[in-house]
Symmetry: C2
Subunit: 810 residues, 2 copies
């Protein structure tokens, strides 16, 4: 370690001034980037948009991190929770030289500076926040709350990586951030990287003080200790201390902290995997530090008034224009840039080399580091399906065996995240080869099953954490999936939004390499919430997802085990998508052999000829379509009734696994051509569509199709409670009997002729309901129903006997 | 205070045993409720569903709370975060006598017990979790994380109320819960009630230990101190301590804690409003306490194996049946219930009287306590609109004046909650009569504007907190609203789900009185995120909301200030809904006078004759419809172009404020009849519909309407960045020029005839885009455009000059 010379501290300060100058320039200046002529109104942007308040703190940290990175050759990722301080990160990347390397028109001269300034928050330019366009970023400055989750996600399996994660004190009030401090109970100091949280206590949000700045230092210290950290307090900018003095203090503090981290890593290398008290820094500096102290007579620096654009009228009033000029000049740009606009050499010398530059760290462009997953052949895990419906599986359990082998083959770049539900979701097979990673205390006895200091599964009861960790893991180029209850994946609706938007934008940024898809497995779904009832019944995440750009979202509803396997293999191989897979965890019949499942998944949807009664080459009288496992079962049971009761009726059974196939080919890359759609669904026959979720989504996807007016959809209509599986489908008119009624009502000529059968179906519903209410379980003939052609009939009772009574959410 | 006699402790223990017996009975028994005959398999339910693990802890606390409530006559609300321990709360309500009062068939005898047991988690019975059906509950045992937010919401303005809030240690891992501890910085000890958090540290979730049980006691203590609390630790059940001993310890602890609270309240009554170190209890007891120690040789009590139904095969195997029998008998039911099945008198004597029973506390059925809001006439706040478009307002600012008077007239039962955005959303007028309530530190100087120990506005940077507080406030019978950025209201998607489901269920529970609606104001919407860009652009909350039952959701898109006023008056008067109101905060023209606005809101949608060129009594050639403020502006500008360029074209302009009016009357209570729909939209003319959100929602709402195939919708299609307002609408083809192109393309015969105009419109788009990219703002003629008939033309430049440059999210 080199000594902290005055010269080094001077360079740090000069770097900081340059970065601040570049930040203010971005927010305000349209032209005259180096103030080589007197600042005029026309040099100021007509619309002043951006966030100054957090920026000087971020650049201060950037400068100091540069020094230690260079001295220690420490690969470092910089995650800034207050990512609305975008100008500061762009300034850093520009001073690193990275910006000009990537964006060749933003040159390192006066012309480049002018373009750099103009493009910021400007139409056709770059966003005002840290964004995919920002080199070195994996963390969008959009929604607040995920800085630490992302940081820890990046840390998993990157033992040599340091992640400096700035947490804004506004952000710190969000729920996700408040729990994410506990991530340190899941990190292994020997095999994972280090997260250095820096709580940026600048005291104010948009219009209010922050909670953590307005509790006593004792309370704040207790809070950080309670979170498992060793807090180091730093404060500067509130008095007239010399810059060289506070730079020295911070540089020394940073050395202390990095030495502590090095000692922890050293102990870990010696075999001590236990949880250390990781250091963190409370970094208290004035909001808008180095900006105008007061504006229009009101305190600005060190207050919420510095949050966005402090001199809003810089183009409109002379007073603000002069204030702006004084502010810009206070950084003494002439000392920082040469006559051509190139930054002074000593300042540039603070920058680490190549990949060590935070703006060029390859972990921040994870696709470049990504290793392909070594996937085993899914055939090795296929379930045997001699004839449709003849065997029974819990589909996710089968997937679990496959994932077990995936984990075995990919011991360091694949993880499963979940809120305490991996076993509940039937993936517990993976514990044959791995454990749940945990670094809080262990207890003796037999309750700490499958828990260890190292493991591929990470579980904490916070969907936000799981999603944030997974995102951080994927964005740094690794692979993984997340399990959750279908209803409660809504908890991360907004996080999904941000990630999907990130993917959409990166698709159009040439230097961003594709990253692995974000894969969901939703196995505790709306139809089987026997333990939990109405509060746990919500299939709307799919609807939420399809609002995002078609190029980045995929939704799959595999109806049996082999189809789930084939689907998931596809998901694990894919890049740049969010894949939503819904597949129930209860025992259910298998319909397709592995070959059939693969072909079915390839097509995304198809006619199940064996289930229908149609005449080849002719249109059927009616199409029974299903998407989802429970709807598929009900459709097949309805088809069974129809073939017995109405043997002359030509019934086609269609199954949909890739929901996006229903959409127009112009709307979604997976969309079917109209011709193919017509071939399957006919142009004009009634289609009774049994769908897993809210029915109108099917209408949304198909409303431009021929014969859309003939599509009649059954699905979840927000009716439910704690009841039996069949009562649940009856409550929502998705049951086999109601589907038969729908056929009778919709196929021309059947209504009158088969009024008796219709009445019988109504009676069956009444009988089923009454039986359920008396016996507390479904009619035996419903529970035991199996597809009649199944040569080797499954024992229906067995389905009920193995019916899950464990493993629900708290 | 009476002394803690052995007799009292015995009664507490007997009450607890009875409650535990009733809980186990509910989970397992179909019949033979008092084991008066040997337990047989047929007595056991065929489907065993429920959660035992947390239950004995909840009943233990219930018993002890009963004692102190009775002794101190302390009105107490019991909120159980681990609400899946439903059997325990039902047992408590039954022992209180409340259950039989409300549900007269569940009598206090053997027959009633049998029904009580059978109905639990049984088809046609009651849900397995704490639910609206549970007397005394305002907190559904669904999604975890909101116990403290709900508790504090109930505490606001209820100075004499104690809320005992149990936080599960699983729940404690969620983000929302982790930040909700900080609620104590917002509570005023003199004017608000007291929340007593009880962290139920039973150590396990579904399949894992909990984080907070696996950190050192020192860390946990530091964490609670850091959250601002004075923690009291209690532990029992891990050794062979006598019940009388641990009951005495806990009773003494509870007395200590309540004495501390009383002292705090006393100091507050003396005028000390500062933030005290409120006590809280860490309650460490084994999961499944009093249940079977081991099952099948594995540790059960005190482990995650006790989470749900520990003896899953009680009906299937003799071993489990005998274990169940032994378990039930361990409570010695014969000592607890008389020969008729009525609970012993001494046990019943622990129950407080009347409304003091936690299960009968009127705050838990807030509708019974609800006072009507005293609302001023909206006319007093109307903006002057001599002719359409002739004046300009920021609509929420006008609403703010109205709310100011609402607050003045309702000083103790109306609140505004928001994540640091009340001023940003232009409601700052309210600070004329109130402040932001804050009880952390205050700083000298001018930065703590509008902050005080008491105030009607509560702001913390957590949408979860705001929503949870508001829900708790409403559920206890008060009124309020929440502001948020439109994009980030998705953060509470799942909380909205739970609340909407709660409302739906309570609508069908006769003893539940209606509560005030939950009102959202989303003023920072998708079209005006100039500071923030793509990450802040998402109008999908509306789509999420309309998935819930039509009976409980309403969506409004008022297009100007008076319409917003009228809409909000309606929302504040309404009951049992979730009202979503989206109204931009930027300066925008006013179109309707107060009378017109009221009539327009009454109808929910209507023809704006003054904007069209149709001939009365005839169908127009085309309908231009708009929902939302920005779409309305573009539609009017398009209509302006059309009347100039195509004077012979009969254009009808329709504006929609109540989105649900579009739906079929069978789908939604607000739905228009088909006849009325046809009158407005015609049966067969092209309709160009400019919509605020994702376009297909309009298709969803109208797909059963006549002429649906003629409705062409423009809306947000997930294109955006940091850019100008007009560039945003152009990016999404919602702009006036594109709407004119749509008219040319869709009205038969125009295409060929007006190819020139079409080209001109395309050119205008190119010109607008080029201008924006050069100048950083929109074309002057776009910025300055006003409705041509406006007699007193607004100064368009003014619109731009007052364009917001402040007040966005961090």
């Amino acid at each position: 370690m080199s000594e902290l010379t005055d010269e080094t501290l001077t360079i740090i300060d000069r770097w900081w001034r340059a970065a601040n100058y570049l930040s203010v320039g971005q927010i305000y200046l349209l032209d005259n980037p180096l103030l080589r002529t007197p600042l005029s109104r026309d040099d100021v942007k007509p619309r002043l948009l951006g966030h100054w308040g957090t920026t000087p703190g971020l650049t201060f940290l950037y400068a100091h991190l540069n020094r230690v990175i260079k001295e220690r050759q420490q690969s470092t990722l910089y995650i800034t929770g207050p990512g609305h301080g975008g100008p500061g990160l762009v300034a850093g990347a520009y001073l690193d030289g990275t910006y000009s390397e990537i964006y060749s028109d933003i040159t390192e001269d006066t012309e480049g500076l002018q373009k750099l300034f103009k493009q910021f928050s400007f139409p056709g330019g770059i966003p005002s926040h840290v964004a995919p366009e920002t080199p070195g970023s994996i963390h969008e400055g959009g929604e607040l709350g995920y800085a630490l989750s992302h940081a820890y996600g990046a840390a998993f399996d990157n033992p040599d990586l340091l992640i400096a994660a700035v947490v804004g004190d506004g952000e710190a009030e969000t729920g996700p951030l408040a729990t994410s401090w506990h991530s340190n109970k899941f990190i292994n100091p020997a095999t994972d990287g280090t997260v250095l949280p820096i709580l940026h206590l600048n005291g104010y949000k948009i219009a209010n003080p922050t909670v953590l700045d307005r509790i006593s230092r004792d309370e704040l210290e207790a809070l950080m200790v309670g979170y498992g950290h060793k807090p180091h307090f730093f404060e500067a900018g509130y008095d007239d201390e010399d810059a060289s003095s506070f730079h020295r203090r911070f540089a020394e503090l940073l050395d202390t902290v990095l030495d502590e981290i090095a000692a922890i890593k050293e102990r870990a290398a010696q075999g001590d995997e236990s949880r250390p008290q990781w250091p963190m820094i409370v970094f208290r500096t004035p909001k808008g530090w180095t900006g105008p102290a007061t504006i229009d007579g009101k305190k600005t620096t060190g207050s919420w008034r510095a949050h966005q654009v402090p001199l809003a009228s810089a183009r409109d009033t002379d007073e603000h224009l002069q204030d702006l000029n004084a502010w810009l000049q206070s950084y003494r740009p002439d000392e920082l840039f040469d006559e051509n606009g190139k930054v002074a050499q000593d300042i540039a010398s603070l920058t680490p080399k190549g990949d060590l530059r935070m703006s060029a760290n390859p972990h921040a462009n994870g696709g470049v580091l990504m290793k392909e997953l070594r996937l085993p052949p899914i055939e090795d895990f296929a379930v045997d399906v001699p004839t449709p419906g003849s065997t029974i599986s819990e589909a996710p359990r089968v997937l679990g065996s496959y994932l077990t082998e995936v984990i075995r083959r990919n011991p360091d770049n694949f993880r499963i995240f979940g809120p305490d539900e991996t076993a509940s979701n039937r993936l517990q097979g993976v514990y044959d080869v791995t454990d749940k990673q945990w670094n809080a205390e262990f207890f003796d006895g037999d309750t700490d099953e499958h828990m260890a200091r190292k493991g591929r599964v990470v579980e904490m009861l916070s969907e936000h954490q799981c999603q944030g960790w997974l995102e951080g893991y994927l964005l740094t180029g690794r692979h993984g999936l997340m399990t959750s209850y279908e209803a409660f994946i809504h908890i991360v609706d907004s996080m999904f939004n941000q990630h999907a938007k990130w993917l959409k934008v990166t698709n159009h940024i040439p230097w961003r390499q594709p990253i692995p898809s974000l894969n969901y497995l939703l196995s505790s779904h709306v139809w089987r919430q026997d333990h939990n009832g109405f509060s746990h019944q919500d299939p709307g995440f799919i609807d939420h997802v399809v609002n995002k750009k078609a190029e980045v979202v995929r939704v799959y509803l595999p109806a049996d085990a082999n189809t789930l396997l084939s689907t998931y293999e596809h998901c694990l191989k894919s890049r740049q998508y969010v894949n939503v897979v819904v597949a129930g965890k209860q025992p259910a019949p298998n319909f397709l052999s592995m070959d059939e499942a693969k072909a079915h998944c390839e097509r995304g949807l198809g006619i199940w000829e064996w289930a229908g009664t149609e005449t080849p080459g002719q249109d059927p009288d009616v199409v029974l379509a299903a998407a989802g496992d429970v709807p598929t079962l009900e459709v097949l049971a309805a088809a069974d009734i129809l073939r017995r009761e109405l043997p002359d009726l030509k019934v086609r059974v269609v199954n949909v696994v890739d929901l996006m196939r229903l959409q127009d080919e112009n709307e979604h890359p997976h969309g079917l051509t109209d011709r193919d759609f017509d071939t399957i669904f006919t142009r004009n026959k009634p289609v009774i569509f049994a769908y897993h979720g809210y029915p109108w989504l099917i209408h949304r996807l198909t409303y431009r199709r021929n014969g859309h007016e003939n599509i009649h959809v059954r699905g979840y209509k927000e009716e439910g409670t704690t009841t039996t599986p069949f009562d649940m489908v009856m409550l929502n008119d998705l049951d086999r009997f109601h589907l038969v009624i729908d056929v009778i009502d919709r196929v021309k000529g059947l209504g009158q002729k088969y009024a008796g059968l219709r009445q019988k179906m109504e009676d069956e519903r009444i009988r089923a309901r009454a039986y359920t209410r008396e016996h507390g379980q479904d009619l035996p003939e419903v529970r035991n129903w199996v597809w009649p052609d199944a040569a080797n009939q499954a024992d229906g009772e067995k389905v009920d006997a193995t019916l899950d009574t464990g493993g629900d959410n708290e």
